[in-house]
């Protein structure tokens, strides 16, 4: 019944198998790069001087801003994967989209949590409905919605297209969210996070920030590749179990005769 919807021609194991081989080699390298970048980034962050305005809370920036960037970048990766699903119906694209969503949600939650911990000493409030924070919150809702959608189908291959379409629809909303800074009246805009994005940041802050951002990217790519590997194994197990159910039922006449 449901197994007939899996098309072996599309789900030919050549590509995922090649990917598995590549991932098995690439992951150790990625792990090393990640740890190196993290070590350098953290070291640079901790020797950075105290900001004259923000004091040591500037340290939060080194993990907050990369998390926020990664939250956006992950969504871009997912959108590209969605195009791969829609245009080429490539199974790896769906695997990539699915595995990226929880990571995106994690980075978004981290951006919100660290932002909240930063906002409390700076603005005196845990949460402010300013455009930037609210837009990130909406991004989180989109991520969680996509995760829920990806789990809502009994048959994962049926979820691929709906998931891809929803992801792209969500992407169309992202620029709208971005411009909401201008459209949506916010009391807090001048004191918002965007102030830190000004390029006039001193190099003593800019370099650790950039290295940390690279480290976060390395974290993402490592975890993403590992999660993709899991998802491929998941599907293999699924097809194997389904064929297991069929296979033995074919051999049953012999057993039944005894």
């Amino acid at each position: 019944m449901s197994s007939e919807t899996i098309k072996p021609s599309i789900w030919a194991f050549a590509n995922p198998t090649r990917f598995m081989g590549f991932a098995n080699k690439a992951i150790p390298v990625l792990v090393i790069i990640t740890f190196l970048l993290l070590a350098v980034g953290l070291w640079l962050s901790f020797i950075a001087p105290e900001d004259y305005q923000q004091g040591y809370t500037v340290l939060i920036m080194f993990i907050h801003v990369p998390a926020a960037w990664l939250a956006m970048m992950t969504y871009s990766v997912m959108s590209i994967s969605a195009i791969g699903t829609i245009v080429w119906r490539h199974p790896l694209a769906d695997v990539s989209l699915r595995s990226a969503a929880p990571l995106g949600a994690m980075f978004t939650i981290l951006a919100l949590a660290t932002g909240s911990l930063w906002g409390k000493p700076m603005w005196g409030t845990w949460w402010e409905w300013d455009a930037r924070m609210t837009s990130v919150l909406v991004l989180l809702i989109i991520y969680l919605g996509l995760i829920a959608l990806s789990k809502a189908f009994d048959e994962p291959s049926e979820a691929a297209l709906p998931l891809a379409v929803m992801t792209l629809t969500g992407f169309a909303i992202i620029p709208i969210i971005k411009f909401s800074v201008d459209w949506w009246n916010t009391l807090h805009q001048p004191a918002s996070v965007s102030r830190l994005d000004k390029p006039a940041m001193g190099p003593e802050f800019l370099y650790p920030l950039l290295i940390m951002a690279l480290a976060y990217m390395a974290i993402f790519f490592t975890l993403h590749m590992m999660a993709m590997r899991n998802e491929i194994l998941n599907r293999r197990i699924r097809t194997m179990k389904m064929s297991a159910a069929r296979k033995q039922s074919v051999t049953i006449p012999n057993e039944g005769a005894t």
Partner: protein, 219 residues
């Protein structure tokens, strides 16, 4: 009956995680309000109890339409109805499982949303307690709506229309209790006890009414 409870909870975890969806819906409703009323912190913190209650109310209605309709579609309802257990008890357990998987996560998520709406810690505590006492009533009343519309192909909207007016008392007393906790002259205990009473009352009456409906809607 514990087997039924276990099965219901297992089902809601497996089938796309209704607990996650409920909280997600709650989050979506709560974050829509500041878009509509503006980011005025004072206004939001004043409205927070109402926002949280309305969000929880709407989120609790989720999944109610599938409570019996799904059982009927796959034929399980016949077997559920045939057993020697009192049907009302079976329905009670199903409604309880619905609450555990949708209502309870909402209560647990309340502190987070309370902070976002700038609600004071006392207000958050009061909201949690009233939601804990009040949301089961929504599931129990909802069971009646679900039983009434079990045969309808698109019962979802209808259930909301039927159930929402019935749960208004819970909303009134729930929000009144929170106001009572936050502002001095208003009492907390009296409206809170009303919420508890409604929940106890509906926990008996809801399953009973639903059982009568299900007995006679068999076809």
């Amino acid at each position: 009956m514990t087997a039924l409870l276990k099965r219901e909870i297992l089902l809601s975890i497996r089938a796309g995680g209704s607990a996650l969806t409920g909280v997600l819906f709650f989050l979506a409703v709560v974050s829509v309000f500041p878009f509509a009323v503006g980011p005025d912190t004072k206004l939001l913190s004043h409205l927070a109890p109402a926002i949280l209650w309305i969000g929880a109310l709407l989120a609790s209605l989720l999944g109610l339409d599938r409570l019996f309709a799904q059982e009927r579609e796959d034929g399980s309802l016949d077997m559920l109805v045939m057993q020697s257990h009192p049907l009302a008890l079976t329905i009670f357990v199903k409604a309880l499982a619905h609450w555990i998987m949708t209502g309870l996560p909402l209560v647990l998520a309340t502190p987070l949303f309370g902070v976002m709406l700038n609600l004071s810690p006392l207000g958050i505590g009061a909201t949690m307690i009233t939601l804990l006492a009040g949301t089961p009533a929504i599931s129990f009343i909802g069971a009646v709506g679900a039983a009434v519309s079990v045969k309808l192909p698109r019962g979802g909207m209808l259930i909301s229309v039927l159930v929402l007016p019935l749960v208004i008392p819970v909303l009134i007393f729930g929000v009144a209790a929170i106001t009572g906790a936050l502002e001095d002259p208003a009492p907390f205990t009296a409206p809170f006890l009303f919420v508890c009473a409604i929940t106890l009352f509906t926990s008996v009456l809801g399953p009973l009414a639903a059982s009568i409906m299900l007995r006679h809607s068999a076809d």
